[in-house]
Symmetry: C2
Subunit: 367 residues, 2 copies
């Protein structure tokens, strides 16, 4: 029997929503094998202050007191050095930059070519306090400049490089990369000596291409790109210490998805299984390497950027002096049929998980 024992995973990019949807999806995080997660701030209204972030964290902890929730702020023009300092004191790990209008609840986002000028005070303060800047690396579509969902990420990369150059001590994570161009940009910055930059890769972007985006339940932003891009993501996930797991798990009610144009794929509930399936059955990583590969991608690599923040949060939230030994996650070869829906008891909310009704061939024995 094939058996895979790894530390419980760190998912450094997740959407947990609020209200009833939050109550439904929070338990899915541990079910999918995750112990620590970075919580995105794009609620309505967005989480723009430390106070809001702490209040949101309290709600999450009431739903699951074992998982470490790392909170973030939504980049906005009201942020000050003082607020960054306060955020740091309260364990907020970073600030998320959304370009205006490119994804779910990003209407309060920023215009990407103004980032550098507008947020100098914020970025300088973040650099000083060790907060992480998380970038949704896309520019908005524009007919006149030939910008669309297929080149939106590539067109953002000069901004990413400029940020890394201007703030070399700032920890920057380029989130959910989807292109070889983005992978290359991260490698380029690091090869220049700046090891404070990294990137997350989702589980679904290791599997999908642009051909899939016409199926509403496989549509997310940034959209999946060419096969060549997927190959670059797989290679980075396998081999490059700068790339680590951020699932971007983003639940939407099924009726909203079916209306069309609603970006986001829900992966939390089966996250470890998707990844075992992908590395083992799709990428053909030999069994002897699988444990190392999964551990690196889903656990250890991200800590090179997040380590300090994770440690601080274990102190703040659990009163521990250092990061504790992670719990074990055991995956075995076996039937794991993804359910058709994840739903609330009264079915007031129904979400279609990624690869609904398919058998992933890996199941969680214990965690």
């Amino acid at each position: 029997m094939e058996r895979l024992e790894i530390p419980m995973m760190n998912d450094f990019h997740i959407h947990l929503r609020d209200g009833e949807m939050m109550e439904m999806v929070v338990p899915c995080v541990r079910q999918g094998g995750v112990q620590t997660c970075t919580v995105m701030p794009n609620l309505v209204p967005p989480i723009t202050t430390t106070e809001m972030a702490v209040e949101y964290r309290d709600k999450l902890e009431r739903l699951d007191d074992k998982t470490l929730f790392l909170m973030t702020l939504y980049l906005n023009e009201k942020l000050t050095r003082g607020e960054i300092e306060k955020a740091s004191r309260h364990g907020v790990v970073g600030v998320k930059m959304y370009p205006q209008g490119v994804t779910t609840n990003s209407s309060a986002g920023v215009v990407s070519d103004q980032i550098l000028d507008t947020f100098d005070e914020v970025f300088s303060a973040m650099q000083d306090y060790g907060l992480i800047l998380m970038l949704h690396g896309e520019v908005g579509s524009c007919f006149a400049t030939n910008t669309c969902i297929m080149n939106a990420e590539e067109k953002f990369l000069p901004t990413f490089k400029s940020l890394a150059k201007k703030y070399p001590r700032l920890k920057i994570v380029l989130e959910h990369v989807t292109t070889k161009a983005a992978v290359d940009a991260v490698k380029e910055v690091r090869s220049g000596g700046n090891l404070n930059v990294g990137a997350t890769i989702t589980a679904h972007h290791l599997l999908l291409t642009v051909d899939d985006i016409v199926y509403v339940h496989k549509y997310c932003k940034p959209v999946a790109k060419y096969p060549l891009d997927v190959m670059a993501l797989r290679d980075a996930a396998l081999n490059n210490p700068a790339f680590f797991l951020g699932s971007d798990s983003a639940p939407h009610p099924v009726d909203k998805k079916l209306e069309g144009g609603c970006a986001g794929i829900f992966t939390s509930k089966y996250l470890a299984q998707y990844l075992a399936y992908t590395f083992s059955d799709i990428m053909n990583v030999p069994t002897s390497d699988l444990q190392r590969v999964m551990t690196e991608f889903t656990h250890s690599r991200g800590l090179s950027i997040y380590g300090e923040q994770v440690e601080k949060n274990y102190q703040l939230q659990f009163g521990l002096q250092s990061i504790p030994e992670p719990s074990k996650l055991v995956l075995i070869k076996g039937d794991c049929q993804v359910s058709s829906f994840v739903k609330t008891v009264g079915e007031s909310i129904k979400v279609v998980p990624f690869m609904a009704n398919q058998n992933l061939g890996w199941t969680i024995e214990s965690s």
Copy 2:
């Protein structure tokens, strides 16, 4: 009052289906301002013989005896010189090549890189009898070769060029072009002196980009591409005699569309209005030029390739010695709200038309 008087249109690429769907959509052809149309053969089973084509035409004529239906065969390995000769005698205008599996009902299609070798007898005969070869110019997606819906058309272009080179007397229409690369390929072949090649452009590809394909009712194959490609299509539609209207209007029941992955956009019912809206309101063609532009794109240009076949069909079907003076189509500025659905009386079939519920601003006064 803005008023536009043009000849009724020629739509050299349309899907009329069969059964109840056919009965519903055939009347829409004239409603949308079309007098002559090229009927695609991708039924289940496909129209592969002259006999089937003639039988299909009889059905269409029973539903509308004023419209000229130009029939086509589905390219397949059973076609012979004898069948092509027979097809020609019965007014079949051409043969449609579908690559295997790339669009609706194309499972019986051909593998594109085998076209030249496999169909020499057929293409030689078509050349001799003046039949038109219509190309769905895409290759199938393939992960290993980095082929996906975004480059499937561009990767077919070498085959198109080879065909035009090997059969210089063969009339070839590259159907529903979506890329600057395809526009350039058609121009290139023609600039080499081969004026037997042309291309159709749909109404919807003058409006959509890849950003739209995640909405099921805006998904068709080939998919809409970059803004730059749309600009190349608009320029070709305006200025180049090789490019003419082929709507590729392709109705699907709404429930099938909502399942996802069902390619096709239904434009027949409002075809003239979409085009007037696009040329006038989106491309800002001055009122003084609109009549000439619409007439060229929707009527006269296509006859440079189709003229002989149209004339023959007027003889065969209507007993006329030459192409009659076309009926007039009058469009005026005014409210034209696209309906939410086009449906059968009992609502057993419901189709969502392109731009449902939007106001096109142009309406048909008479035709």
